[in-house]
């Protein structure tokens, strides 16, 4: 009997094989998206290098033109990682543009006062949705859909017309260029990158971040493990609301106007970027860095189509749709593969 105590369980019989681990590695989808980006960029270089595609500024413009989307997608990443969904993003962005434009132009408030107000409203909206989702146990899909209509409606309450912003401090902020050696970035792009870095830190180096992954992995288990799953969920939607409002501010800077129809459907772009970035829609697996590549890929599609010149901008949507399908299929394949 005593001989049986140590020998039979070979240690490696339990530890998965190298190949299996590589295939199951959760970083793989991010790497795939990064590779896709590089390949697309390479193709772009090959085709349009004589039309200025090789300029470093073209690359930097990806951040300038998509900063707001990146910020929104970062918020959505939190929500999707936790196993939820947020459909209110586009409306909150639209609302923030209206709210900001109205306060600055019609009420004459200085932009530095308006910014914290707009952020607070967005965060509070997210908090409310999270509160309802958790306390009344309603599907996030439904609650945030209600949020979508609510904020779009509020836009129209403020004004039915678009409000353009002539405020000098806003336009100087919008036009500011942060030199970067080979080119420049806008303030919006810088803010977006800072948000990305913060999100990365929070998700990987704080207890809150790990709880987001835990409840996305298995909410019931997280509860039984003694994690404050309710608070985490509410916080996640608050983060998303805050990010949407911030994205709204960046969008206002980018477009310099408020319009009740701004950013209609942008939640779908954000969700697409997150999914293309390798985050599982079922929650619990993914990286915010993937979201960056997701946004860059979407942005690159837009630029390439602009460079192509003859293609209608609807091709952006088609390309996005195709990519989304492909990536969801890959996810499906990877999750079924992992089970065995």
């Amino acid at each position: 009997m005593s001989a049986t105590t140590q020998s039979p369980t070979a240690p490696d019989s339990r530890t998965p094989s190298k190949a299996a681990r590589l295939l199951g590695d959760r970083r793989l989808p991010v790497a795939a998206t990064a590779l896709l980006f590089l390949v697309m960029y390479g193709v772009g270089l090959g085709r349009y290098q004589y039309y200025g595609f090789a300029e470093p500024q073209v690359f930097l413009n990806l951040f300038i033109d998509n900063g707001y989307l990146l910020v929104a997608a970062v918020g959505v990443t939190f929500v999707i990682l936790s196993g939820g969904i947020d459909l209110s993003v586009g409306s909150v962005i639209g609302f923030t543009t209206m709210f900001t434009a109205w306060l600055v132009e019609r009420q004459g408030l200085p932009i530095v006062v308006v910014i914290p107000m707009a952020l607070a409203v967005g965060a509070f909206g997210g908090f409310l949705m999270g509160y309802v989702i958790h306390n009344f146990e309603i599907q996030p899909f439904i609650v945030t859909l209600a949020g979508l209509f609510l904020f779009r409606g509020l836009c129209l309450v403020i004004s039915k017309e678009s409000i353009s912003i002539g405020d000098s401090s806003v336009s100087s902020m919008a036009q500011a260029q942060v030199p970067l050696g080979v080119g420049f970035l806008s303030i919006g792009a810088i803010v977006a990158l800072v948000v990305l870095a913060l999100a990365f830190y929070v998700l990987h180096y704080t207890r809150f971040g790990r709880r987001v992954y835990a409840i996305g992995g298995n909410e019931q288990s997280a509860l039984l493990m003694g994690l404050p799953q309710g608070g985490t969920k509410i916080a996640v939607y608050t983060v998303s609301g805050f990010c949407s409002a911030l994205a709204g501010l960046l969008f206002t800077l980018y477009i310099q106007s408020g319009d009740p129809l701004h950013a209609t459907g942008m939640e779908l772009d954000a969700i697409a970027a997150v999914v293309i970035g390798g985050t599982l829609l079922t929650g619990g697996s993914g990286y915010v860095l993937g979201t960056l590549f997701g946004v860059l890929v979407l942005g690159l599609i837009k630029s390439i189509i602009q460079f192509e010149g003859t293609l209608s901008s609807w091709w952006t949507k088609i390309a996005t749709g195709v990519l989304l399908c492909a990536f969801i299929l890959i996810q499906r394949f990877m999750t079924t593969r992992k089970k065995t």
């Binding site: 009997m1 001989a3 049986t4 105590t5 020998s7 039979p8 369980t9 070979a10 240690p11 019989s13 339990r14 530890t15 998965p16 094989s17 190949a19 299996a20 681990r21 199951g24 959760r26 990987h204 180096y205 704080t206 207890r207 790990r210 709880r211 992954y213 835990a214 996305g216 992995g217 298995n218 019931q220 288990s221 997280a222 509860l223 039984l224 493990m225 003694g226 994690l227 404050p228 619990g284 697996s285 992992k338 065995t340």
Partner: protein, 512 residues
Amino acid sequence: MAEPRPVLEMTGIVKEFPGVRALSDVDFRLFPGEIHALMGENGAGKSTLIKVLTGVYSLDGGTITLDGRSVRFGSPLQAQHAGISTVYQEVNLCPNLSVAENIFIGREPTRMGRIQWKRMRKEAAELVDRLGLDIDVTAPLSSYPLAVQQLVAIVRSVGTGDSDGEGSGTKVLVLDEPTSSLDRDEVQELFRLMRRLKDEGVAILFVSHFLDQIYEICDRMTVLRNGTLVGEHMVGDLDQVGLIQLMIGKALDQLEELHDHQLHSDVGETLVKAEGLGRTGGIAPFDLEIKKGEVLGLAGLLGSGRTELARLLFGADQPDSGKATIGGKQVSLSAPNDAIGAGVAFCSENRKTEGLVPDLTVRENIILALQAARGWTRPIPVSQRDELVAKYIKALDIRPANPEARVGQLSGGNQQKVLLARWLITQPKLLILDEPTRGIDVGAKAEIQKLVVSLSEDGMSVLYIAAELEEVLRLSHTIGVLRDRRLVAQITNGPEITTSRIMETIASGEHQ
């Protein structure tokens, strides 16, 4: 000697679910430095009592005192902070996180709010090591089998308390069927750990359906029957027969019956034949033959490839070498459908993730496989369906005997029975049972084993996997021994074969 004051006292506990009174007026107390068994049949209310204690369910009546203070927890988190660590019956961890994180999440070591990953991994590796587990703590939990996951859950609960400022150290450790998927050695490791904690003064509540384990490790036990308290006894004062009587309320002689039953010799022609069947990373190529009416038992330690062999035969994993015939016809085994079509049924060990649909009723869950086998366009006539369901609820003694109950609300053991019923109802030619008696009480265990015997007498072939060697030995005509993911021996059962002979084969990897 005056008894010390109990660390935990629950009095007059009442818990009602819609339509079921799961606990009525139950008293329970737990002393520091003791291991206390909570005993009872499937559905007696053991897990419910635990969940009421730790705040998963709210209390409908009664009081709980911890350390002399009256408490009522609103969530498992509060219970944890008060010093009650719990491993719930079904492994409840996050499969997407690494082993280290699963052990530490919620109380990761931090410096100024920043998680110290290195330190966490190192400490996790040490904790895991102390339990005699040799695994990579950075790998995701989902890459390990259920047994390892269960051990990780235990490591988590034991490690709780001492490293964070908020907790007050573990005073009470609750283990709800922690051993159901562990093998002997791991159980011994766990027991060593439990004894150490006991010596440190921790009070341990232990639930298990293995009576031998109870008698080995516990000091005292409380017996529940149908949600009521039957009695509290010192383990030394009550023998196994007496305990079983208390649990089921009548004497049990079925177990005896089984002991001297003769294996029927009525084994027919070959039904399943596998030649060189294998899958890299799963199990090395093996040859296997199962005859009609034969029970083939698989013995081996956890991770030795028992489940992998079964999954291959069912087509749940695709073999990458060899071929198989069922009933003389070649089957491709590239998907379970092929095997199901050829009359193979697979009752998986992992009822939570692979088996049952918790939101469907008992009836729907039972009928699922049969309906799938018939094709969805040919519904089963209602009367015939209800009759079948009723028959199996009765045969397996599923409680509550209500076909409309939601499976998710059944006790763990009763869920296992529903899963079994689902496959039995399809009347397969080959029935693969992977740990069918896990988490099932003594009475029902005997019933299930009797059922296997009678099914094989009726000509059904059975591939039987169980952690308990006695069980395998009692039922099987042939015993396949696995080791390190290889089928190392096939032993024909006979009077001279004993569990220690099989243990030797498992240890040495060869059969003389």
